[in-house]
């Protein structure tokens, strides 16, 4: 029974900005789904506020709405587009929640929109804890397996003590009912702890109620990915086993596919339970993810939860197996059955089977705790990682070591040299799950821990523990061997050792090891991910390396371009870079090249086997890339390697690749150096006659002090060669400078600290441009909303710039061209300027695709990354204009006056982190980037665009109610006009005494509220923090007093995060918000697709 004929148009909801727990995987899923639906001849309408996604590229859907994903805006889109159906299962929790709201509000019924992919009842059964417990009970009744964790509800200490008996003893989990963010919950291992935790819990709970639950900490954790079609055919696509046992969120665990330590009997029980659950929940057409805990002592199975939608794990499973879950889910949603859908990889077998793997996949999480030093780094059931790397190997050890080196983080690979430290200390440390626990375990093994000791400390399954011992034993053999033989090297390689690790163990240089290895003929082969363990021939070149016998890379005729991706997502290097790589692949494929993608991030579109002609799922280290280049050179001609688009990761390999004779195309490594090296870049600027803020470089405090004294405080200090403003800080006085130098670990003789004059009150400007050696194409000019000093990645910005005139643009163009020429760029360059007074300072230049390329491309309707890729391989701006890839005339600096205004806003992960006392972390913006994602608001005027950006990022701006204002002295002047506007719009102002006084002197009434430090008043007057917690404040303006250290506004800002109240931490943000509120008051905020915006823009250009 083929496709339904009653659906002509489908609305797909994306997942919005990248946040922790909901990342690029939904771009991958959504892009697949949109493509499938479009190829089925359906009109696809898409809403997603995230401009950095491939799915929001205008060619992916028929009508693309970069609008906030709120029920209000989606209703406007529905009213305008009148889709027949809504597919909510591909945009994560955001899409599912929005769809449920629209259903609840009667919007879907009103416009006759059918929910496809999952029905409301199924979504509720999957999402609601109590309903899901009933589902599990029902399943147990039917098949005799599967249960929920046992629990008892208690209202007194007696209940609690009896409850422990009932659950079969300690440890137990205590969860107070109805407390904010799970406050007061904890593990009790004995009666003392129980009395303390439960006592507190009973007090905290407004209903004097705690839930006591049996602890399944330390149990084995598994996931299954299932799909079901309308004929009730069900397949299990993939099983995943967590290396870290229960207690660590699966997103934060090292995970392995397929499951490694289950017999067939136990696996089939999980499968049976999974199938019964998907049926009982009623997911009719689509996928779901089910998590299980298995008691390692007796195999008792507890069903933890299910997600009735495509998830992070399903993206991982798709990459791990070659079975494209999202694509198939979209087909099932429009009426196909599994047996009617061909398996892309074999082409001749159907999708109604279960992939079988002849390799092992390991996923490792990437954390960013260094950006949030206050945050508690213990891993819990709340996800904290910001990205992940996946690796494929022919065995676990190979996959694991590849995954660890894919993380590209100092210390992520196992180290086998140096002192280990004390065994018992290491084992004690390994009890607490945290980033890098596996490395601690390895050190403990080196220090003499036994497998039993490791298991007792970590509950990591003995089979996995033995694999770690195996790795360690090979390291020992490497260390003890008289010489590196082909056999020994081959063995080490088969267990995933990198040349770097071998070099370290042998006290050699990495390139020497490589030379020896090559001389001995020890090189990897490339195997295919084919869904079927070689039972059928694979048509899709999706490769991974292994030190086996036979390579499957086929010869080819066309010249290949190898594109290096950006590796695991991290703060500062996220999906934006993947966007550029994918665009390069599309553009170069159109231009007649065979495209070869290299990346190790399973969340991305670039690692979809459909994106490029060939995909190598490999770490982005020099060794791994050189081997791929070698394999591809053997297969046919290689036109070049593109390093410019994947961010700092491939850029960092540029010089070494060139030194190894690899043809790096686009901007040369020397040019990259000219932009990155302070001295060289200073010369470029001097030659072009461009000013930079006064600066110097230092390797000691004395040197730094001398520079700071000369240029005057405040100064901006940072280590060199970092991305995302890592370690960057504005220093206001000498004492802090001394402390900074002392604390910094990144400073060394060849890595000096950069000390710059900090430009107070400057406007920061970002420029993205293309340069072909002769002609400049100014892609776009973005004016930051926040002043200079806040990392550009965390700052909101507007394009076209809202306060810069034609003269300023002209100066920017001239400067950009001079720098591009001086550096020697062939492709993209991003330059940050600061306008202070009337002087245009150059802050820095990056000769690569920047984070803003997708935003600029969407705001100006020009595919910059595609153009950059073409220029890298020799095309000129003039040719690209003639071809139509770039506009025939004009550029992003000359947008028509009535061009739409686009605002980019950063999304911060504050709510994810708590310190070890369980309090929130501070939300003040600074020079170190900490945002995880971004949204775009687009409209005809700035105010509306800004309001949309806020709605997309944090929820709608309030249009009435109470606004609390408390600003630093230096901001008091600039606060007056926006405050007056708020009053004019009907807001009641609350202020602390100092701010209230200033407002009153300016004729603005404000109610004085108590500071947190003043405590509750004699008559029970609440403090501002209490008011926020009680939900009585609708808007918060709080600018910090200076930076660094513990700040006065901390409690206010963390309360704002806890209560999701909009909180502005800069006066510029306030001014923009006031414009937004004004726009909302004028009403009639409309929606417009990118295609409509582009049409308008193109018409205006011609």
């Amino acid at each position: 029974m083929p496709k339904r004929t009653d659906i002509q148009s489908v609305l797909v909801i994306g997942s919005g900005p990248i946040v922790i727990g909901q990342a690029a995987e939904f771009d991958y899923s959504g892009t697949q789904a949109c493509r499938v639906l479009k190829s089925e001849g359906l009109r696809v309408i898409l809403v997603n506020s995230n401009p950095a996604t491939i799915m929001t590229d205008p060619e992916i859907a028929d009508a693309t709405y970069v609008e906030p994903i709120t029920p209000e805006f989606v209703e406007k889109i529905i009213a305008k587009e009148r889709p027949d159906a809504l597919l909510p299962t591909l945009g994560g929790q955001t899409a599912l929640n929005t769809a449920i709201s629209l259903h609840g509000q009667g919007v879907l019924e009103k416009y006759g929109v059918e929910l496809i992919g999952a029905n409301v009842e199924a979504i509720n059964k999957g999402e609601d804890r109590d309903l899901f417990k009933e589902v599990v009970e029902a399943v147990r009744g039917k098949i005799g397996h599967g249960e929920s964790a046992r629990s008892v509800i208690c209202h007194s200490m007696d209940d609690v003590l009896n409850g422990v008996e009932e659950l079969g003893g300690y440890p137990v989990v205590v969860r107070p009912s109805f407390t904010m963010g799970g406050a007061g919950s904890g593990f009790a291992h004995n009666e003392d702890e129980l009395r303390r935790i439960a006592g507190q819990g009973l007090t905290l709970s407004p209903t004097t109620e705690v839930l006591l639950e049996e602890s399944i900490l330390g149990w084995k954790e598994y996931e299954l990915e299932l799909m079901r079609d309308k004929n009730d055919n069900v397949v299990v696509v993939c099983s995943i086993e967590n290396f870290d046992p229960m207690g660590v969120h699966t997103g934060d665990s090292i995970t392995v596919a397929p499951a490694m330590t289950l017999t067939d009997r136990e696996y089939q029980i999980l499968r049976d339970v999974g199938i019964a659950i998907i049926r009982e929940v009623g997911v009719d057409t689509g996928g779901c993810n089910i998590q299980f805990a298995v008691n390692p002592a007796d195999g008792r199975v507890i069903v933890i939860e299910m997600n009735p939608r495509v998830s992070r794990s399903s993206a991982l499973a798709s990459k791990a197996t070659g079975f494209p879950i999202a694509k198939i889910a979209a087909k099932l949603a429009v009426g196909y059955t599994l047996d009617e859908i061909p398996n892309d990889i074999t082409e001749k077998t159907p999708a109604s089977f279960e992939p079988t793997l002849d390799y092992v996949v390991v996923k490792a999480p990437r954390f960013a705790f260094e950006k949030f030093p206050q945050a508690d780094s213990t891993l819990t059931t709340t996800m904290k990682s910001v990205g992940e790397a996946m690796a494929i190997g022919r065995n676990f050890t190979e996959a694991l070591q590849k995954a660890l080196r894919s993380l590209e983080k100092k210390g992520s690979q196992f180290a086998f040299t140096g002192k280990t430290g004390d065994k018992n200390t290491l084992l004690r440390a390994a009890v607490r799950p945290t980033d890098g626990r596996i490395n601690t375990v390895m050190q403990a093994i080196r220090a003499g821990a036994t497998p039993e000791e490791v298991f007792d400390a970590t509950k990591i399954d003995p089979w996995f523990v033995d694999q770690l011992f195996l790795i360690k034993e090979i390291a020992d053999e490497l260390a003890e061997a008289d010489e590196l033989t082909a056999e020994l090297l081959g063995e080490a390689k088969r267990h995933g050792f990198s040349d770097t690790q071998i070099a370290e163990i042998r006290g050699l240089r990495e390139d020497v090891v490589r030379e020896v290895r090559h001389a001995l003929g020890v090189r990897p082969v490339y195997k295919t991910v084919d869904t079927c363990a070689a039972e059928f021939a694979a048509k899709t070149p999706y490769f991974y390396s292994s030190y086996d016998e036979e390579s499957e890379v086929a010869p080819r005729e066309k010249p290949a371009v190898i594109i290096l991706g950006s590796g695991p997502n991290r703060i500062g290097q996220g999906i934006e870079f993947d966007y550029s790589c994918v665009h390069a692949s599309f553009a170069l494929s159109d231009a007649g090249y065979e495209t070869v993608m290299v990346n190790c991030n399973p969340e991305t579109v670039s690692t979809d086997y459909d994106t490029s002609d060939r995909l190598y799922f490999e770490p982005l280290t020099l060794e791994d890339v050189l081997e791929i280049v070698h394999a591809e050179s053997v297969a046919g001609p290689v036109a070049g390697v593109v390093v410019q688009l994947g961010g700092q990761t491939p850029l960092g390999l540029s010089q070494a690749l060139k030194d190894n004779g690899v043809p790096v195309v686009g901007t040369s490594p020397e040019a990259i150096h000219a932009a990155e090296d302070r001295g060289a870049f200073g010369r470029v600027l001097a030659e072009a006659g461009l000013p930079a803020p006064k600066h110097g470089t230092a390797t000691t405090f004395a040197e730094a002090k001398e520079i700071a004294d000369e240029i005057g405080y405040p100064v901006l200090v940072r280590p060199s060669y970092v991305l995302g403003g890592r370690g960057m800080e504005i220093v206001y006085e000498e004492a802090r400078l001394q402390a900074y130098i002392a604390e910094s670990t990144e400073i060394s003789a060849d890595r000096p600290v950069l000390v710059d004059r900090f430009l107070d009150d400057a406007i920061e400007i970002d420029v993205d441009a293309l340069y072909d050696g002769h002609e400049l194409y100014l892609g776009g000019v973005m004016e930051h909303i926040e002043e200079a000093g806040i990392h550009s990645g965390d700052s909101a910005c507007a394009l076209p710039p809202i306060t810069l005139g034609g003269h300023d643009i002209k100066r920017l163009r001239t400067s950009t061209e001079a720098i591009a020429r001086g550096v020697g760029v062939r492709g993209l360059i991003n330059i940050q300027f600061a306008m202070a007074g009337d002087i245009l300072y150059v802050l820095e230049a990056n000769p690569r695709a920047s984070r803003t390329v997708p935003f600029t491309s969407k705001a100006t309707a020009v595919p910059l990354a595609k153009a950059a890729a073409r220029i890298s391989l020799g095309a000129t701006v003039a040719e690209l204009r003639a071809e139509g890839l770039l506009p025939a005339h004009g550029d992003g600096g000359e947008l028509p006056l009535d061009a739409p205004i686009s605002v980019k806003e950063a999304v911060m992960p504050w709510s994810r982190f708590r310190d070890i006392q369980g309090r929130g972390v501070d939300t003040v913006l600074g020079p170190e980037m900490r945002s995880t994602g971004e949204v775009m608001g687009i409209d005809s005027v700035f105010g509306t665009a800004y309001a949309k950006s806020q709605a997309g990022a944090y929820g709608p701006l309030p249009t009435k109610g109470r606004a609390f204002i408390s600003v630093a002295n230096r901001d008091k002047r600039s606060m007056i006009f926006p405050a007056r506007e708020l009053v004019a719009h009907g807001f009641e102002l609350l202020a602390t005494s100092g701010t209230a006084e200033v407002l009153r002197r300016n004729g603005i009434n404000a109610t004085v509220v108590r500071k947190q430090s003043e405590g509750e008043g004699p008559n029970g007057e609440r403090t501002i923090v209490q008011l926020i917690h009680d939900g009585e404040v609708d808007l918060i303006v709080n600018t910090p007093y200076g930076t660094g250290g513990r700040l006065d506004g901390y409690d206010i800002r963390t309360a704002a995060v806890a209560r999701s109240v909009p909180c502005l931490t800069t006066v510029q943000g306030l001014a923009a918000a006031v414009q937004g509120i004004d726009a909302l008051h004028h009403g009639g905020v409309g929606v417009r697709s990118l295609q409509e915006h582009a049409q308008h823009l193109i018409a205006a250009r011609d």
Binding site: T337, S352, D358, R394, A533, E535
Partner: protein, 380 residues
């Protein structure tokens, strides 16, 4: 779990295919020499069931899943009294098993039962070779059995082929035995053991069937002596073209109209009894992920397979046979191979795959219920 374990596995071993391709690795299990037909199995779980499945008699099994032995060996999961595979080929054997049910390591068990294996070879390359060239004779050699490649190749080429091999009697029980019904006894079934797996009578017993397992050489007299409500023909090794005894017995059962169910080899025997041909597949179906469509309902089940031969029956029409009309009830969606037969005028059906599912998914368990319905129908 020490370096010595690693050292001990470093005994060189060689795998030689009849077409001359050679793979070098390390000994696994017993050291020595073994011969058989090289086949690959794609199941990621269930190695214990695979090893003890009598259908693998005289076959050297290549596991495509790289890690084997992770859950050790327990006493519950074997499908018969011993390991039947002639040899075992794995890439990465476990050093330490992990399972609360594990009693010993797989390495020990293979050695104890004298099963010669090899590890550390490129099993994917070997699988692709077998896929492209078909299943073929193979030898695995280690220890004193090692010799120059040419000599080993000659030994391999001197072995008998699987085609034309009559093996049922070698694996089947010599004595009849009874598997009692679990709970209330509802039916009696005579099960012809052509290499039966332990789980099959178990699945029947769970449905209230008392199963009389009879030797492969059982006669119609033996069968009807137990007064069966139904007759079952099991899976088993070898070429169905040689199974003249079982085919004759089945014809007798068909003639009498006793409800009949066959699995795997039993399906091929039904095919031959009905007058269809059987043929050797290029490289067979061995795994637990095969999509089979029930042509009567259109539903797809994910199923466990282990067969090198198949029935040659027309997919597009009902066939006339000496026992009335017959049709292909199940088909493999990967390659359209016949996976099930049923008679339209008599109570008989069979499937080429393994609804008892050990190892494998339980999707096809309904077939045992179909068998009980036939027996019920016959009583009514």
């Amino acid at each position: 779990m020490t370096t010595s374990t690693r050292g001990a596995t470093k005994i060189p071993a060689v795998l030689v295919l009849e077409d001359g391709r050679v793979f070098r690795g390390r000994a696994y299990g017993a050291v020595g020499e073994t011969f058989g037909e090289a086949v690959f199995s794609t199941g990621m779980t269930g190695y214990q069931e695979t090893l003890t499945d009598p259908s693998y008699h005289r076959q050297v099994v290549v596991m495509t899943a790289p890690h084997v032995g992770n859950t050790g060996v327990n006493d519950e999961d074997p499908e018969s009294q011993k390991i039947w595979v002639a040899g075992y080929v794995v890439r990465d054997p476990a050093r330490v098993p992990s399972s609360w049910r594990s009693r010993r390591t797989l390495d020990e068990e293979l050695a104890r039962q004298g099963v010669v294996g090899i590890s550390g070879i490129d099993t994917r390359a070997l699988t692709r070779h077998l896929r492209e060239r078909g299943a073929m004779r193979v030898g695995v050699f280690s220890g004193e059995a090692l010799a120059p490649d040419a000599e080993l190749l000659a030994r391999v080429q001197g072995q008998p082929q699987m085609k034309g091999a009559d093996l049922s009697a070698e694996v089947a029980t010599k004595e009849a035995y009874v598997v009692p019904a679990i709970g209330e006894k509802k039916f009696t079934v005579a099960a012809i053991d052509l290499g039966i797996k332990g789980m099959t009578p178990q699945r029947m017993a769970e449905r209230g069937i008392e199963v009389h397992v009879l030797p492969a050489t059982a006669t119609a007299e033996d069968v009807y002596a137990v007064e069966p409500d139904g007759v079952f023909f099991s899976n088993g090794p070898g070429d169905p073209a040689t199974a003249e005894g079982p085919v004759a017995l089945m014809r007798e059962v068909l003639q009498r109209g006793t409800p009949l169910f066959g699995i795997c080899f039993g399906n091929q025997i039904l095919g031959r009894a009905l007058g269809f041909g059987t043929y050797k597949l290029k490289y067979g179906h061995r795994g637990i992920n095969q999509p089979v469509q029930d042509r009567t309902t259109g539903k797809v089940e994910v199923t466990a397979h282990n067969h090198g031969f198949a029935v040659d029956a027309p997919l597009d029409r009902v066939s006339d046979t000496p026992y009335g009309r017959a049709e292909v009830s199940h088909v493999c969606l990967n390659d359209q191979v016949v996976e099930g037969l049923q008679l339209l005028d008599r109570p008989a059906f069979s499937v080429q795959y393994h609804p008892e599912a050990a190892a494998g998914p339980h999707d096809a368990a309904y077939l045992f219920d179909r068998f009980t319905s036939l027996m019920e129908g016959q009583r009514a």
